[in-house]
């Protein structure tokens, strides 16, 4: 494991495999959708392109959660808020692109503002007709919120379940706010009826495939950033914080600064995921802020295996594919039982998730002694060390 070259450290076997699979995915789907003739066994309908594009965005959201939960032990139940904020930033850009094609044909104001009798654009909508500005906001708004929130929270050492609860309160407060019409983001209905992005029709097959490929690239880039963080010396400190926060602090590391940095990076990634998600599903509404969504995203990470990065993405794909599969059939009323069962079953029987269990099993085959060490490390993982002192 102690390879000297940073690039080799960055790309271990699992990561390389992941990137190769992702690249294959990003190439195979557009090829199958655009080049294969309709009716051919290899042809994939546009519905699936949009669906898989959505999964890739969920994968990116899961990755951002894994970075802070798996490596720093911060369980955020409000990451859906960063996702949604990124989505709203993109949605605002897309709304401005509608121009005079809206129902009221107002060149400046989106339909819902005309409907509410607003005479001019609120100041926070300025600039969103520029794509570059909107993309900046996609990173900046979630990042800034995470920075401010984290700055307060980590400095006063709010940890463990307390942090989880207040992140949940944060997304809940945003949910309530965005539901209001006078907040200026379309209220209940959110932002929808998008026409085009960068001049391309969002409904067109080509655009959908391009968005899918862009999402895959974003996922790959973010994955590499995460790998770079966790494999560096910085990452070692993060794992130290996860396993023994006080000890790390006593060693002289400024724990809150480390946490704040990673939390902010993670929020930006969630924002990017949301921004890519919105043009592919065609709507963003306050429902994305619902606390349930954030918790659901956490379970993707748990299913795939936290602290593995690849597992988070895998978990997002597996759980969401199962969701699509079950909710579209006769089994729909039972999906929530399954999702609930997944929460319970994963935490009880598969605490390391799919990838974590697999890694463990492989390590067990390779070297029994090493397996024992690994078990010691992962059993002490997460926020579990917080418990003995909290109970006193």
């Amino acid at each position: 494991m102690m390879t000297s070259h940073p690039l080799i450290r960055l790309l271990d076997r699992g990561s390389t495999l992941f990137l190769v699979l992702l690249a294959a995915f990003a190439i195979a789907i557009p090829v199958s959708n655009l080049l294969m003739p309709e009716g051919s066994a290899l042809h994939l309908s546009t519905y699936f392109v949009a669906l898989f594009g959505k999964y890739v965005c969920y994968g990116l959201l899961a990755l951002s959660i894994d970075l802070i939960w798996g490596y720093v032990g911060i369980l955020s139940l409000g990451h859906g808020a960063f996702f949604a904020l990124g989505g709203y930033a993109m949605g605002m850009y897309l709304m401005r692109q509608i121009g005079t094609r809206g129902v009221y044909a107002n060149p400046i104001l989106p339909d819902f503002m005309v409907f509410l009798n607003w005479s001019e654009l609120p100041f926070f909508w300025y600039g969103f007709n520029s794509f570059a500005y909107a993309m900046l906001m996609v990173l900046l708004v979630p990042g800034l919120l995470a920075f401010v929130f984290g700055w307060f929270a980590f400095r006063s050492r709010v940890t463990g379940v307390y942090l989880s609860i207040i992140t949940q309160a944060m997304t809940y407060a945003l949910l309530l706010g965005f539901f209001r019409n006078n907040f200026g983001f379309g209220g209940n209905n959110g932002l929808t009826d998008f026409k085009d992005i960068l001049g391309f029709n969002v409904q067109a097959e080509g655009t959908r495939n391009a968005l899918l490929v862009t999402s895959c690239i974003a996922l790959a880039v973010c994955f590499l950033i995460c790998r770079a963080i966790v494999t560096s010396k910085f990452g070692k400190v993060l794992i130290g914080i996860r396993d023994a926060e006080s000890r790390t602090r006593f060693l002289g590391y400024r724990v809150e600064a480390y946490k704040l940095f990673v939390f902010t990076v993670s929020a930006c990634m969630a924002g990017v995921a949301g921004a890519l998600y919105v043009p592919q599903v065609g709507i963003i509404n306050p429902g994305e802020f619902a606390p349930g969504n954030s918790i659901e995203a956490v379970i993707w990470v748990a299913v795939g295996g936290r602290g593995t990065l690849t597992g988070a993405v895998l978990g997002a794909f597996v759980v969401n594919y199962a969701k699509t599969f079950f909710t579209s059939g006769a089994l729909a009323p039972y999906w929530l039982f399954m999702l609930g069962g997944l929460f319970i079953g994963t935490t009880l029987f598969l605490p390391r998730g799919i990838i974590g269990t697999y890694n463990n099993w492989r390590a067990g085959h390779a070297d029994k002694a090493e397996a024992k060490a690994a078990e010691g490390a992962s059993a002490g993982g997460g926020a579990s060390p917080a418990q003995p002192s909290a109970a006193e």
């Binding site: 369980l75 207040i166 929460f343 935490t347 926020a383 579990s384 917080a386 418990q387 002192s389 909290a390």
Partner: protein, 537 residues
């Protein structure tokens, strides 16, 4: 021959009747008023209504009621007024007897406009001022106070003489004062006396009345009015605060009821139970089922349905809670974040189970008679259901404190909370205590569900609405401290209600959430944190 004579007699008799009826028509104010009702003119109708109301005729009340409901018909040609009954029969308004002839062909309803409605209300007020039922007299005196129609003054004064009950007498005096204040021919001294009477009444209506004095009011009257209005405003501000406090207390007690079970499981055991809201929901559904059984089998017991539901809800929720603890949570002690996820899963399962069993729609849970209605206390309106919930919350809280303090189970619970190993070492079966504690917390959530079924929609999502608020209360109040939960719940409830008038309900809620998020930064362990020297994390 005999037949002919009979016929003559009948005609003579009939003519006699008509003549005498015509004579009667001009005999009193009531009959004069009736004629005015046939002119189809609003001003005439208004005069007529006032005249009818003060005429003392027994037909006055049904006539005005008919006018109000649009059932009063007139024929301009015959100069006759009819009351149409609900089943479309005509009654002669003059005699009160059913009219069995052919209805006149120009029959039309007496029209009413907004000004007339005011006159009708005043007339109704005057009519019922003398009603045998004291509550009716009280109502009508209030109506007169609001309408302050000078025409009813004689009726008010007559009623005032006859009135025995002080409560009604007071309102009559106020009504009289209101009329006098508005009348042009009242002397300034009387007006000032009237202002003082109205000032002592002190509600929003009195304020409007005093502030609506015409411009040509004498200076001394005006001065008295200004002073009185200032005093009323001060009083109203105080009552407004009291009302906000009451609403806040009511909201706070609901929060407390929902959070108190959580305070036990989260505070005492350190277990994050995201399914806590579902325990509340189950309690509400137990109430629903109990009421359904009572409705179909024993309708007479309906008023006792809540009393029957309470123990059942406690037992049911507690049993579900213990089952959850034994089957899931006990394997996750020491892993709070995993507990959080697992219990979230449980909450999804429970919600969906209820949705499958009872359907996704809201269920109707009725208020027993002793929980519906309201009464006035000073300047505020108190609804019985809110009052009972506040009382109930107090009882539950006190019982829980007493249980923790005085029973063996409570002692053991506290021992396990403080030092698990030591408690186990002295022979307490900690696993059993864990299960019972969790059952207790869940059972109390079930009790909360019974109470919430009275003020909230009973649907599978009921619990979701309370879970975040409950966590806020527990975290804000301080974990592991029931008094902290009490103070936290009441503070948040009252703060919410005081913010609402300025910010609206949603913004108030957001403000509270932001406040708690900031507060936790300042005091990460809540208002009443357990002090200790152990490092955290």
């Amino acid at each position: 021959m005999g037949k002919f004579r009979d016929r003559i007699l009948a005609i003579v008799f009939a003519i006699g009747l008509i003549v005498s009826a015509a004579g009667l028509a001009h005999a009193g104010p009531y009959e004069d008023a009736l004629e005015k009702l046939t002119t189809d003119d609003y001003a005439d109708t208004a005069d007529a209504v006032t005249a009818v109301a003060t005429s003392g005729n027994p037909m006055a009340a049904p006539l005005i009621a008919a006018l109000q409901d649009g059932r009063l018909q007139f024929s301009a040609k015959d100069k006759k007024v009819f009351i149409k009954t609900v089943d479309d029969k005509l009654i002669d308004a003059e005699t009160g007897k059913p009219f069995d002839g052919a209805p006149p062909d120009d029959l039309d309803a007496v029209r009413v406009n907004n000004r007339l409605r005011g006159v009708i209300d005043a007339a109704n007020g005057a009519l019922t001022l003398m009603a045998p039922d004291a509550a009716k007299r009280y109502e009508s005196a209030q109506a007169v106070f609001k309408s302050r129609d000078a025409a009813v003054l004689p009726a008010v004064e007559k009623a005032l003489e006859a009135e025995k009950i002080p409560r009604v007498k007071k309102v009559l005096t106020e009504a009289r004062a209101a009329i006098l204040l508005g009348a042009d021919d009242t002397s300034p001294a009387d007006k000032i006396a009237a202002i003082n009477i109205i000032r002592d009444r002190g509600d929003q209506d009195s304020l409007a009345l005093i502030e609506s004095l015409p411009a040509d009011t004498p200076a001394e009257v005006r001065a008295a009015a200004t002073a009185a209005s200032a005093q009323i405003q001060r009083n109203l501000a105080i009552w407004n605060t009291v009302q906000n406090l009451w609403y806040g207390l009511s909201l706070g007690s609901v929060l407390l009821l929902a959070a108190i079970g959580l305070a036990i499981t989260f505070g005492v055991m350190g277990v994050i139970n995201m399914a806590h809201g579902e325990m509340v929901m189950l309690g509400a559904y137990v109430t629903y089922v109990v009421q359904e059984i009572i409705r179909t089998r024993y309708p007479g017991l309906f008023d006792y349905s809540l009393a029957i539901a309470l123990p059942l809800a406690f037992i049911f929720s507690a049993a579900v809670g213990i089952a959850i603890e034994r089957s899931v949570i006990r394997f996750l002690y020491g892993r709070p974040l995993e507990t959080l996820l697992a219990t979230w899963g449980i909450s999804l399962v429970l919600q969906q189970a209820v949705r499958v069993a009872f359907g996704p729609t809201n269920k109707e849970v009725g208020n027993p008679s002793w929980m519906s209605g309201a009464f006035d206390l000073g300047g505020i309106l108190i609804t019985y259901n809110r009052m009972w919930i506040i009382l109930f919350t107090g009882i539950v809280f006190a019982a829980l404190l007493a249980m923790l303090r005085f029973t063996r189970l409570g002692l053991e619970m506290r021992a396990v909370t403080q030092n698990r190993q030591m408690a186990a070492a002295v022979g307490i079966r900690t696993a059993r205590i864990d299960a019972l504690t969790f059952g207790l917390g869940s059972g109390i959530a079930g009790l909360a569900g019974v109470a919430l079924s009275q003020i909230d929609n009973v649907s599978p999502n009921l619990g979701q609405g309370y879970i975040i608020d409950s966590f806020m209360v527990v975290v804000f109040g301080g974990v592991g401290n029931l008094w902290g939960t009490l103070v936290g719940a009441l503070t948040l409830g009252i703060a919410n209600k005081f913010l609402e008038p300025f910010a609206g309900a949603v913004l108030a809620k957001i403000a509270i959430l932001v406040f708690i998020i900031l507060f936790i930064q300042k005091r990460p362990r809540g208002m009443f944190a357990l002090k200790g020297r152990a490092i955290e994390a």
